[in-house]
Symmetry: C2
Subunit: 321 residues, 2 copies
Amino acid sequence: MTQFPQLDGFHGAPGLVRLIGHRGARGVMPENTIEGFEFTVRSGVVALEFDVVLTRDHIPVVTHNHHLLNAATRGTDGKWLQGEELKVSALPLSQLQSYDVGGLDGRTVYGQRFPDQVFMSNVRVPTLGDLLDMALKPQGAEMLFLLEMKSDPETAHIPEMTERLVSEVVKAVRVRGLEQRTVLHSFDWNLLEICGRIAPDMPRSFLTIMPKNADDPGEDSSKSVAPDFASMDVPVSQAVVEAGGHMWCPHYLDVTPEVVSQAHELGLLVTTWTVNEVDDLHRMVDAGVDGIVTDYPGRAQRVLLERGLVWNEGPDQMVAE
Amino acid sequence: MTQFPQLDGFHGAPGLVRLIGHRGARGVMPENTIEGFEFTVRSGVVALEFDVVLTRDHIPVVTHNHHLLNAATRGTDGKWLQGEELKVSALPLSQLQSYDVGGLDGRTVYGQRFPDQVFMSNVRVPTLGDLLDMALKPQGAEMLFLLEMKSDPETAHIPEMTERLVSEVVKAVRVRGLEQRTVLHSFDWNLLEICGRIAPDMPRSFLTIMPKNADDPGEDSSKSVAPDFASMDVPVSQAVVEAGGHMWCPHYLDVTPEVVSQAHELGLLVTTWTVNEVDDLHRMVDAGVDGIVTDYPGRAQRVLLERGLVWNEGPDQMVAE
């Protein structure tokens, strides 16, 4: 793994389980916002998982779905967006950033999933550049990026569209010299193949969710761009290795000690998502994963500490005795 | 109330219930730390309730108990303090600030009360000056202080000791010109009488908890410095008015709609503490309090918004529609 030093930061070890902030810290702060990323890094969780799509003017921005969630988006009048949800790829950056994404509408199913999330105003969808710039400041010196690229199911069959997304993302990383702090991450194995071709200087992470596990409410489905796992004749981890992957990111309901050790034998890192409940956090630690993606970094830290585990190396990492 | 403009920021109104961050945001961030106060203010909850005691060298510092909680304090070796808890008034500031107060020991009863609190390292007990300085920066322009002074039960009978605490606190506020953003707050009515004498330029808030409601684990008892409410022949709110109070801060289990409206008729503001559960938050809103002190600002914001209420005035306050 020494080819890619950033993978050290996702590597578990005896006494060490990595934590990765999901969209920052969605349980506490508005997701995929600079405000949330700053909170997470300041909490000592320096690896961030987040989502990138392109605007109409081909600017990579950090937001999860291809459409702005009405449940999380207010207009310039301060009111929740209504009706058909706006497609990010149809909006120029200037319009996208006129919306306020600092809070959740608690009357919606999505809003009710995160009842402790703070409610802020005048918060904007960040560009990928805004987020990457954090890593160039002293307080971001340890930051690592698990950078998910979202293939649009409507255009995933057009290679040029996917290549454009990858090339804009790779350009934003390279222009800042952050190739050794970034892992390229997707559900779309075609997209990851393109990454291997145009960005062999960065490792690749393969997201998976088995068909039996449903998507959570309020999330764009990724299944339409993912392979048909049910018809594979090898274990998924084997398929990830054959596709050139360095990391495997299974949904936590798909994780067992057996699949983790199988993946480890194949030389893969195993990072699981999105693990928010205390019992599930314990189960993932028991299964031997390298890293855990969570909306609740504080909760996950505390679970690790109670087991005598840490999430970072280094002199600042104080261990409960 | 125009005599004290800061009271406007604690005043409820139709559609408006004030939120006050308890020790910052103890449910999320280490209590009584600059890191926690910054989180709370950034979340849009600009009124902070916190606790002040004096070090051996008479420096007002922000920490709750007269003794450092072993469950929240690590030494320079990174290990939890053990044995008899250290008394803050016996430590010079330099020694006090050698300890790390960035996390909780989850094996303790106190630690288990806040299982989502993030675990940070190299976090120090702030001086009162450090906290007040935040209000002089642009991002602290709206901050308000509900500044609790903790009388030491061991020395509360010595007027000079109490006066020293008050005068050091008042000096720190005045030297920064923050008299109009501070409310002086205590369980100790003798201390509040001293405040009225030496700081008549600041309003006073009277904390109460009825004898039937036990102290929570890990908190210094304040009952020994508080009046004997059971033997009073007038309602507590009446006694607060007679003692010169501007605000009454009853424990939330002591709050009913009747006592709130009685206090309002007497011209008092009513701010209740420490309200963390959704049901209790609703009950306090129903009771008609002006403000709610909470360890979970995000949760409290969300409860208000679901009822069509807000916690701040001003153009940035977006109302769910």
